[in-house]
């Protein structure tokens, strides 16, 4: 029996900056997972991943990561993916610093 498909987002790292980015429904790469397209169909996920892997001039190492529907948009499921949305825990560097600077 095949496992039930769980929702995914397409993610990778930006080619020049190296930071974590997520694919949006309108084919942009966002640094905010909440803007990502939450994909609930397996065939669609495969197609979106293929599309992402074709964007080698912008993104490195695209893959499908588990996500769930949150209040403001997709949220990470695994702690590794959660860290990628924030940055390291020893300094306020990475996305968490950008968020606090903007907010």
């Amino acid at each position: 029996m095949s496992r039930r498909f769980t929702p995914k987002v397409v993610t990778g790292n930006a080619l020049i900056e190296g930071d974590a980015v997520w694919l949006t429904a309108d084919d942009r790469w966002s640094t905010d997972i909440a803007e990502a397209e939450l994909i609930e169909d397996e065939a669609e996920a495969d197609l979106r991943l293929l599309f992402a892997q074709g964007q080698a001039d912008r993104v490195v190492g695209a893959y499908l990561a588990e996500a769930r529907r949150g209040r403001d948009g997709p949220e990470p499921v695994h702690f590794r993916e959660a860290f990628r949305t924030r940055g390291p825990s020893n300094y306020a560097h990475g996305k968490q610093s950008e968020l606090s600077a903007n907010g």
Partner: protein, 556 residues
């Protein structure tokens, strides 16, 4: 210290120019990521969780002040104002942007540094005793040999596509501070009939299959070193398992074929290639020995030291903990802790790097060392200068008196940075150190090595920690396994797993229970944790670690 020859300089500059072209071709689309990745890795550039990471080689852990200042400048100009010193005596920058990396490499070349062979299936940066050239117990400075190995291994055409990475460590002292028994090749200087040579150890390593290295040659004359090492790498290059990266390291080759068979093959290969080494290597080595000539140490009264030691308890505590015996009795080896309680192990800010550079220049014959324990060393300081050094360190937040103690923790970057990690290590190290400081017990506890890795690859050397901690992902939650009784010295041992792991919020209390159990169990104040563990075995420590299980057993 060694200064680049014209050849070295041209080679490094050419490599930077090549990489500049490769980055440009990656950015304009002429190279795919699959094509580019091995090229960037050859230049020490990784892509991690939040950014690229550049790993810069610090050969055998030796730096001069200008190099340290340049690292500070790079940290400020292209990174976030700090650098991370690693367990392989390298420095890592955690936030460079791809387009800036060629400029960073040029800035490194300006001070005779590079990031070549800090990654990939090559012979990596040769590590050495961080007290080299200064330690009272040393037979000879191992760095001329380390530099000879660096020159030989850099861009060696036979060894650019090895089955896997290959690491060599070297020590000139019988007391092993370079973890030689956990390297692919470990070289430990020994004497026989008054002649200095090497005990050659092969097939050690940590990672998912930890192995203590085996002695392949009890005594190797110095003149045979290069051909013998070449013979080892050459035998492994043919035998090594390229079919399975988890079985590719030489430790597995030695394990599968047996040390006797490997020895036979190596000796055979050695006999074949030895005549080809017609003495050029020895001529080069003689030049290198001159380059590493010991500094002209001054003779002066040490009244300033005695006075500070008598009157200043902070200085006394630091001197008792952070100084090691120098060859010259009126000098000391100063270890500067990058482990302030609660800080990230191994991190130094650009300002701190400049303070370290200035101190080395003013008081330390312009020498700095990085240890695999992620601290910085001033190897040659006159005792009279120690109070001034301590005062300057205090002002820079660098005077923590904890070398060799429970808060002097080795930790890999873990899942705060590393793409391979399965859990975080840095916050665990920070919390343990903070707790130990709050308890004010580490000086009473004494010599204790806690080492933390955030995955099975064991960059944090957890297998050889007296207390080792391994972070894993257990069903989507960070979980920490404890090993006990590891040892990284000449009496090397792999720690034994204590039992089931702990969630992040329970690991600090668990470590605290082991430490208090040890204080209860030791039979005298100077019996170290490791000695007590060896005397008593794991049982009483496990009982402290898992009290609920003990209660259940008692009730049954």
């Amino acid at each position: 210290m060694y200064t680049y020859s014209e050849f070295d300089d041209r080679f490094v500059r050419e490599r930077v120019a090549q990489f500049r072209g490769q980055v440009a071709r990656r950015l304009d689309g002429s190279l795919t990521e699959d094509e580019f990745k091995p090229l960037r890795l050859m230049n020490g550039l990784y892509l991690q969780l939040h950014a690229y990471m550049l790993r810069v080689a610090i050969p055998y852990g030796t730096l001069n002040p200008d190099q340290m200042r340049q690292l500070a400048w790079i940290a400020e100009r292209w990174d976030k104002g700090y650098g991370h010193f690693t367990t392989r005596q390298n420095i890592q920058f955690n936030w460079p942007k791809l387009a800036d990396v060629p400029d960073i490499l040029d800035a490194l070349a300006d001070v005779e540094m590079h990031a070549i062979q800090t990654s990939g299936n090559t012979i990596r940066n040769v590590t050495a005793d961080h007290f080299a050239g200064a330690a009272a117990d040393e037979i000879a400075d191992p760095r001329p040999v380390a530099e000879l190995l660096r020159q030989w291994s850099t861009d060696h055409p036979e060894f650019q596509f090895l089955p896997r990475k290959f690491k060599i460590a070297i020590t000139g002292s019988p007391n092993d501070r370079a973890v030689t028994r956990a390297h692919d090749i470990g070289l430990r200087m020994v004497t026989r009939d008054g002649e200095a040579g090497f005990e050659v150890i092969v097939g050690g390593g940590l990672g998912r299959t930890p192995m203590i290295g085996k002695v392949i040659r009890e005594f190797l004359p110095r003149a045979d070193l290069l051909p013998y090492v070449e013979a080892i790498v050459s035998v492994w290059n043919l035998l090594g398992r390229r079919d399975n990266k988890y079985k590719a390291r030489i430790k597995i080759t030695v394990h599968e074929h047996g040390i006797d068979e490997i020895r036979r093959l190596v000796e055979e290969r050695f006999a074949e290639i030895r005549p080809g080494f017609a003495g050029v290597d020895q001529a080069v080595l003689a030049e290198l020995e001159a380059a590493f000539a010991p500094p002209a140490l001054r003779s002066a009264p040490q009244a300033a030291y005695d006075a500070a030691y008598r009157t200043d308890p902070l200085f006394r505590s630091w001197a008792d903990t952070n100084l090691a015996p120098h060859k010259s009795p009126d000098h000391a080896i100063v270890t500067i802790s990058l482990k302030a309680h609660g800080a990230t192990p191994g991190d130094a800010s650009a300002d701190q790097m400049r303070v370290l550079a200035d101190l080395a220049e003013t008081y330390g014959h312009s020498e700095l060392r990085i240890s695999h324990e992620q601290n910085v060393i001033l190897p040659h300081v006159h005792r009279a200068d120690l109070p001034a050094v301590h005062a300057a360190l205090k002002a820079a937040g660098l005077a923590t008196a904890n070398i060799g103690l429970a808060s002097d923790i080795i930790a890999c970057p873990g899942m705060d940075y590393c793409a391979l990690a399965t859990a975080r290590s840095i916050p665990i190290a920070q919390e343990i150190a903070t707790r130990i400081d709050a308890l004010k017990i580490e000086h009473e506890v004494g010599h204790l090595k806690i080492k933390i890795s955030g995955c099975i690859n064991a960059c944090g050397h957890h297998h050889v920690g007296h207390i080792g901690i391994l972070g894993l992902d257990r069903a989507g939650v960070e979980n920490y396994q404890i090993t006990l009784g590891g040892d990284h010295t000449e009496t090397a041992a792999v720690g034994e797993r204590a039992g089931p792991g702990f969630p992040a919020e329970e690991i600090v209390p668990a470590i605290e229970r082991i430490i208090f159990a040890y204080l209860d169990l030791r039979d005298r104040d100077d019996e170290t944790f490791l000695d007590a563990y060896r005397r008593l075995g794991p049982a009483p420590f496990k009982a402290a670690l898992y009290p609920a299980e003990k209660e259940r057993a008692d009730a049954a």
